[in-house]
Amino acid sequence: MSDINKEALYDYLLLLGDNSMILGQRLGELCGHGPELETDIALTNISLDLFGQVRNYFQYAAEVVADGRTEDDIAMLRKEHEYKSSLLVEQPNTDFAYVIVRQNFFDHYHYMLLSKLVDSKDEQIVAVAKKSIKEVEYHLDFSSTWVKRLGDGTEESRQRMQDAVNELYRFTRELFKPTETEERMANLGIGADLPSMEEDYYKQLHALLEEATLEVPQGEVFQYGGKEGRHSEYMGYILTDFQFMQRAYPNMKW
C-alpha cells in the first residue's frame, strides 16, 4: 500500500472509531444515572459495545501507523481538532428523549455502515464489522422500540421526543457527507460509499418517526464540521473528562 493510502487508512480508522468512542463516552456519563436500573444497564452495555469496537479500530490503526503509538495514545492523547467524530454523537444527554433519539439517529447509520463494511477489501475491517454488526443490530432494535414507545406514548413523552428530534435532526446529514479520506477509501473499495446510503437512511428513519407519531423536521439547515475537527462547544468538556487521567498522570497504566 502506498504511503498516501496508508495515511488515509489510518485516518479512516480514526473516523470509524471516534464516532463510537465519543458516543460511548456520552453513554458512559449516564452510568448510575439512568432513569431505571434496567435502562441504566442497557445504556452502559451499549457504551461498552462501542468501546470494544473502538479498541479494534485503534489497535489496527496503531499497527498501520507503526511508529510506536498505542491504541491508548490514539484514543487519549489527541487534541480536540484531531478528533473526527460527527457533531451528532457529542450532543449532550439533555434528557432521556435526547439520549434515545441521538442513539437511534446514529444506530440507523451505524448499522448501514457496517452492512457495507462487511464487504470491504480490507480483511481487518471486515473482521471488526462482522463482530460489531450483531451488537449494533441490537442497539438499533433497542433504540427503535424506545422511539416508538415514547413517541407514541403520553403527551409529555411525545413532546420531549419531538423536541429532541427537532434539535438533533440537523446533525444527521453530516454522517453521509464524505471527507476526502472517506471518498478515497470508498474508491479503493475499503470504505463505505456514504452518499449511496443516504436515501435509504432517511427512508428508514422517516418511516420509524411516522410510526412513532413524530414529525420529520422540514426545511432543516444541516450542520457539518465534526468529521473535519470543527466541533461544537460540548467537545472540550467531553475530552476534559475523558482525557483527565492520562493528562494528569501521563503514561499511567490502569
Partner: protein, 94 residues
C-alpha cells in the same frame, strides 16, 4: 396512578436442550421491554440462548403457612424415590 413499572419474572435457558430456569426479576413497562431488559441485565455474561418473561402478578404461589401440610408428609416416604432399582450399566445420567 402508580408510576412504578410492573415486576416481571425472568426465565433463561442456558443451552439448547435444557429447561428455562428462573433467574430473577426486573421492572418493565411491557413484555417487549421486559425481554430487552432481561437480555441486558441477565444475559450479559453469556448466560443464555432463550428468554421467557412472565409478569409476576400472573404467578400463583403456594401459601407458606401451609408448607407443613403440603411438604412435610413427603419426608418419610423414601419408597417414592426410585433408589431401590438396580440400574443397568448402559444407563448413565440418571
Amino acid at each position: 396512578m402508580n408510576k412504578e413499572w410492573p415486576i416481571w419474572e425472568i426465565f433463561i435457558r442456558s443451552k439448547n436442550g435444557l429447561d428455562h430456569r428462573h433467574v430473577g426479576s426486573l421492572h418493565a413497562a411491557d413484555a417487549e421491554m421486559a425481554i430487552q431488559n432481561a437480555r441486558d441485565v441477565y444475559t450479559r455474561r453469556q448466560e443464555g440462548v432463550s428468554i421467557w418473561v412472565v409478569e409476576s402478578k400472573h404467578i400463583t404461589a403456594s401459601n407458606p403457612e401451609k408448607s407443613g401440610e403440603y411438604f412435610e408428609p413427603a419426608k418419610d416416604k423414601v419408597y417414592r424415590h426410585p433408589t431401590f432399582y438396580k440400574l443397568p450399566d448402559e444407563l448413565k445420567h440418571m
